[in-house]
Symmetry: C2
Subunit: 339 residues, 2 copies
């Protein structure tokens, strides 16, 4: 049988002790090169696979980290996980995934799972429906390092990695103004979600910086969906002073807007400019292609894991929470480029 080889077997075969084998395998300085070689060779020959479970139990470090996401089906999170994975694997960490389906009750279960697995740290993006954060405070109290990514909460003393949504909103709006659009509207999302509120503020900031007074009639607050984008446009086009461009809080909303405008035979970008947010995959392929703001998902994954690894390495109990803010990346395409 090749599947139950332990360090003791190697030790026996080499007429030495498990301790020496253990040290040799982990490249301990006090072990002679000769021994190390012999051990390595025998391990290879016996087809030895280290038992991480035993190692974890003894050392108290699992070399696993838990990642909690709202859904693996959302492109954005798949992409972030991609970034996390790459760093994790090269740092020798395993990644446990848990999906919350946007529900607090599953967040609680996920945390149970992670704690039982004795993960060395947790990365989490908060579910939409969560407003009671005690479960996060509890893991913090237990001394398990946590880092939020994207959907963060600044009031819990927990580190986070987010994109600068204010700046993203600002850039998007300014781009429309620079393209010569005169009345720029904004379709926003639920205001209790911080990122949407920040994008709205960025929109207002850009207008003001360009000497334009914010017209609240031009701000439509809805949900985040294709439907919301359609309703928004229908509403905006009924205004006495119609807008000639719109910054949508999210790409799907922008898509709804585009569909509605096309139905009404309003030419994009010549008569009406549209920009979204998120750089979803479809934006590149629709007609006209959609201008948007990229959230640097892969970088976000990398940055959050790196931050978490730092917390794991020097567990200064009383270190201040850190906040990494990534720059949003403008991606300008046809939907805003007028001649």
């Amino acid at each position: 049988m090749s599947y139950k080889v332990t360090i003791s077997d190697i030790a026996q075969a080499l007429n030495t002790t498990p301790a020496t084998v253990s040290r040799a395998l982990s490249n301990h300085p006090a072990i002679s090169d000769d021994t190390k070689q012999k051990v390595a060779a025998m391990a290879e020959r016996l087809n030895y696979k280290p038992n991480k479970i035993a190692s974890s139990l003894r050392s108290g470090r699992s070399h696993a980290i838990g990642v909690m996401i709202p859904s693996a089906e959302i492109n954005f999170f798949g992409s972030v996980v991609h970034g996390i994975e790459n760093v994790a694997n090269s740092a020798g960490y395993n990644v446990l995934i848990y999906q919350t389906n946007e529900l607090r009750q599953f967040e609680v279960k996920g945390i149970e799972t992670f704690l039982s697995a004795r993960v060395d740290g947790i990365l989490a993006s908060i579910a939409k429906e969560t407003s009671d954060y005690t479960h996060f405070l509890e893991i913090k109290k237990r001394g398990v390092p946590v880092v939020f990514f994207d959907r963060a909460n600044d009031d819990l003393g927990i580190s986070s990695v987010v994109v600068d949504d204010y700046r993203g909103g600002y850039i998007a709006t300014e781009h429309l103004l620079k393209q010569g659009y005169k009345r720029v509207a904004h379709i926003s999302g639920p205001q209790h979600i911080k990122i949407f509120n920040d994008r709205l503020k960025g929109y207002m900031g850009a207008l003001q910086a360009h000497g334009i007074k914010v017209d609240f009639d031009l701000i439509y607050t809805g949900n985040v969906s294709i439907e919301a984008g359609k309703s928004a446009i229908e509403h905006l086009l009924e205004l006495p002073e119609k807008p000639d461009a719109v910054f949508a809080v999210e790409d799907f909303t922008a898509l709804g807007a585009i569909k509605c405008l096309k139905e009404r035979n309003i030419k994009i970008p010549d008569e009406f400019g549209v920009i979204g947010f998120a750089n979803e995959l479809f934006g590149e392929h629709i007609t006209p292609s959609l201008s948007t703001i990229d959230q640097q998902t892969v970088s976000m994954g990398k940055a959050s894991l790196e931050l978490l690894l730092q917390l794991i390495r020097h567990k200064d109990k009383n270190s201040q929470p850190r906040k990494v803010v990534l720059d949003p990346l403008p991606v300008f395409r046809q939907s805003t480029f007028r001649k």
Copy 2:
């Protein structure tokens, strides 16, 4: 401290032994209800979290399964993982994710990782570049249950869950014929990849079933990409007898075809029909919306995990490998619907 409570602590507090506590917690029939209640209450009070690592070491079962995917960024795999996750969590299994980036060398590393983590089983989708399958045979030899999903290999005696690509190709082609298209072309992919070859066979099968002789001039074999779709159309439109419809092996290829046709002002679907394969997200949102074949990703994830759990539960060493074939689902949209 609340974060180092063990069953011994509970036992001590209750004036009993770890064995009893362990049994009580796992609902052992020989333990009185009274004791069970007391143990549960004390566990709650002390904020006890079971140590899965210790449990795994002792019991030899990790209750973890490894999932190996080419990339978390590909929508398709994100979606399958979604399906796997849902079943896994409710069955009490943790999911370890490993990305191979389509490289055999990372497949080998992933397997090492999984073996070290002593996963109870492995789900894998084979990397494009892999042609030497010894690493999979080795885990099989070690007695670790394996199930392939989507990208499978039938020659290794390993169970798999796939969609019926032949049937998918058949359905797609037949749909075009039923819509009245007369000369249906096919853009295929690299033939050493089984799924592409199967779709090609499905295409040919449908033509024959409708009494149409296969014209090999109408079969273009390229890569799977937007570019390939464009080149294919350019090539096909130069034929003396031009096609009036195309079944593309994959949605991105179909997208390239559509872009090229639009540039040439050929009307879709009236003058030319296009159908793809995969049901990528963008297909719904482009103009015209793309007809395609859905691969039932979430079902695939569920089915593969269920099959794996069966293998884990009754490890009949000599049980025959099983093959689950899912039905492809037609999704017909504008790009093939002519009046």
